[in-house]
Amino acid sequence: MQTAKRDIAVSMTGISKRFGPVRALENANLEIARGSILGLVGQNGAGKSTIIKVLAGIIKPDSGSIVINGETVSALTPASVEKLGVHFIHQDRLLVPTATVGEAVFLGHEIGLGPFVSRRAMERRAADLLKRFFGMELPSGTLVKDLTTAQQKVVQITRALAQKASVLVLDEPTAALVKREVDSLFDVLRRLRDDGIAVVFISHYMQEIEKLCDRVTVMRNGTDVGTVDPRQTPIDEIIAMMIARDVGEMFPKRSVELGAPVLEVSNLRLGGSFENIGFNVRAGEIVGLTGLLGSGAKEIVQCLFGLKTADGGQVKVEGRELSLSTPVRAVRDGIAMLPEDRRAHGVALGLSVRENISLASLRRYSRSGMVSRGAENQAVDGLIKELSIKTPHRDALVRELSGGNQQKVAIAKWLSCQSRVYVLDEPTVAVDVGAKVEIYNLLNRLAGEGAAILLLSSDLLELVGVCDRVLVVYRGRLAGSFSGPAMNSDELLAASSGARSNADGVAA
């Protein structure tokens, strides 16, 4: 990493892109040097994936220029980008499940004679490459769908290497890998860097960035806010660049008198996911729940939603035991839920704001089966105003709103039911900062009115800022309950990763 003029492989300048009302990229720049590993970090929705998709030719930018190997290129397509030697390991495993390893590695660049392919040659070459780069041996003719997630990731990387990539972009490549696999992946990436390949490494894991990258570009709100050397810049500083906003300002303060326990969970277990989970959420309390992917935190929330059925244990709301066998039952039992995938479960995109909001509470505006439109409209307008949902009118389709406003509609739906328990699964993912603050305000208000709130989030700063208490799940067990000064992102992180357990006692 000489400070002298580096050898630039890809240079993107002034890239902007909007999706309807959402500004995904705004004058973003990215410079990728040969023989080095560039980290790309940013919060969800900061534009990392979008700028990579622009480079991949999957998304057409509204403006900006891209120079690859000294040549200005326009109208990129996935095929033309690959011809230029730029290869992508997408976060989604873009492999055909019914293909063999050999077919998957050479798809689009088949080995054979004229139009005919030689499957045997492809299998053999793929096996050679897998052995050479990863020391991995698979039975010949193994189908992609029979591989583990990590093996599929490795096949994807092999695919790029088979085509002599000069720039290799990896989008969250380690998300599904275990440590040993991560280490061997890093070895491979370092080797590729030393061979002069430009590597871009997108990750949420700051330790990985610090360990692997020569430089790191930080993105925020659709633009790049700086490029630093991660070995000389403390992680905190990088995180501060990613957030920029003063944490205190982002997370409104509040003080609520906590009441009696409203949601009581005891001894909950689900085979293979978690066991012996017990906690309470009191009236007026916001309790955070967090854990790494696969820790079981997500599954706990899914059980409360009725999306998964627990193998045992008790869930009580205001002293009543719930069965929670289906989402319908969960709703009827007074649990208001905000699933992570709001498009799939949270709101009906094809319905209007009014219909969405009153969907769960139509009974309240109905008399003998007929909906009283006047009462409904009044209630809906009240909520639109209260939550400052930005919509042209109450009959606008939810599809036309921005992500944050869609999320607010999903919340409004439950407000109109006056639930006592709110369970939220990553409510601020892919929502812009402004809308985030409004959602935090809303949570505070709900708590202030005596609701019990359980917030599942992987955003540690969010948890610290919003919650009264945070529960950390590690390998299917509660590893700790943090509040007060012990509730900070370092502690939460340490507990999530199993480095530490328990601060002030699990049973609250």
């Binding site: 492999l95 019914t98 798809l107 689009g108 392919v117 790494l292 820790s295 999530s496």
Partner: protein
């Protein structure tokens, strides 16, 4: 947020679990496949023992000849399912293929009866068949309509045009080409059987031996992955519908030769075509439609109808059995897919 999370060693046990799961699934798929093949074999064995004359050379050749039309159509359907993916609701399917064949047969027979020669009539029939296929492609790829609905609509268009053209009557036809197809033979094998053999060989080589075929499977198996590999998904999908139309036209010539006429009611073949294309998946290790699998299913369905006939079972039963087979195969594939999704 992104603020740094560490990696864990959840690893080893997970990996083992995944491996066990995958092995379990593979075993399940194997059981289903072997079970289906065993059922086929059992049915055939039953016919061999109880159906008089089932194994006679004459009878078997007869079955192969009868299967030629179904086979050609089933290849068209199979290519559409390969390219569109075998998802039951959103995947590729060409419901118009049998009606298209009826229309092409009507065009072919009408032109012949009006005195146009073989060449022109054949070209016209193939042109019409491919045009109907292109219409399907336009609806599915261009307009983004679900194949199930798009081709259902085109089915009605084609059937309506056939009726308009023939006034729902039988249009008799004879020509030198038809003469050869009816009575010609080479190496003791009739022309119709040759048609099936040659068509099968071409289809198997193109779909299973070329990079085109490999990419076609990729397009159907995971369109996003195909796109990321620089493959034009719309082109491949469109191609399969046009190919399906071409197959319909070729089958129409075979059907006119067999009946010496174009007759209404060709739409009834659709169920058999669909059954053949879907059943073929059980012969594949990957649970995908293959040309070889389709050929085996076509012969199986032909033998099934033939065996019922020899046993004096009403041929109406065959429809019921085919319907049940479709349900079974679709249920099995959905089940297999479901367990894949839960990983």
């Amino acid at each position: 947020m992104s603020a740094s999370v560490l990696h864990t060693e959840v690893g080893v046990s997970d990996e083992k679990q995944a491996a066990a799961k995958s092995a379990g699934r593979r075993f399940g798929a194997l059981v289903v496949r072997l079970g289906a093949i065993a059922a086929f074999a059992a049915i055939m064995a039953y016919f061999v023992v109880f159906a008089p004359g089932f194994t006679s050379t004459f009878n078997l050749i007869n079955v192969v000849e009868q299967s030629a039309i179904l086979g050609v159509l089933a290849y068209g359907m199979t290519s559409v399912i390969i390219g569109g993916g075998s998802d039951v609701t959103e995947g590729g399917i060409d419901l118009s293929i049998a009606a298209n064949m009826g229309l092409c047969a009507a065009v072919y027979a009408t032109l012949l009866s009006m005195g146009y020669g073989d060449f022109l009539s054949v070209v016209a029939a193939i042109g019409v068949g491919m045009a109907v296929g292109a219409l399907n492609a336009l609806a599915v790829v261009g307009l983004g309509i679900l194949p199930l609905l798009a081709t259902l609509a085109v089915l009605n268009v084609a059937a309506g045009m056939e009726l308009t053209l023939t006034q729902n009557t039988v249009v008799g036809a004879s020509s030198p080409l038809l003469g050869v197809l009816v009575s010609g033979s080479f190496l003791g094998i009739s022309a119709l059987a040759w048609a099936l053999i040659v068509f099968s060989a071409i289809m198997i080589v193109v779909v299973h031996g070329t990079s085109f075929g490999l990419r076609l499977y990729a397009v159907g198996g995971h369109p996003e992955a195909a796109r990321a590999a620089g493959i034009s998904v719309p082109f491949y999908v469109s191609f399969t519908y046009v190919l399906s139309g071409f197959c319909a036209a070729v089958a129409s010539i075979l059907t006119v030769s067999r009946l010496s006429a174009s007759t209404p009611g060709s739409g009834e073949l659709l169920l058999s075509v669909l059954a053949a294309a879907l059943l073929g998946t059980v012969f594949s290790r990957r649970f995908v439609p293959t040309m070889g699998g389709t050929l085996l299913s076509v012969l199986f369905i032909g033998l099934l109808a033939n065996g019922f006939q020899l046993l004096n079972v009403s041929s109406y039963w065959v429809n019921g059995v085919q319907g049940a087979l479709i349900l079974l195969v679709v249920a099995i594939t959905s089940f297999a897919r479901g367990s894949e999704g839960s990983r």
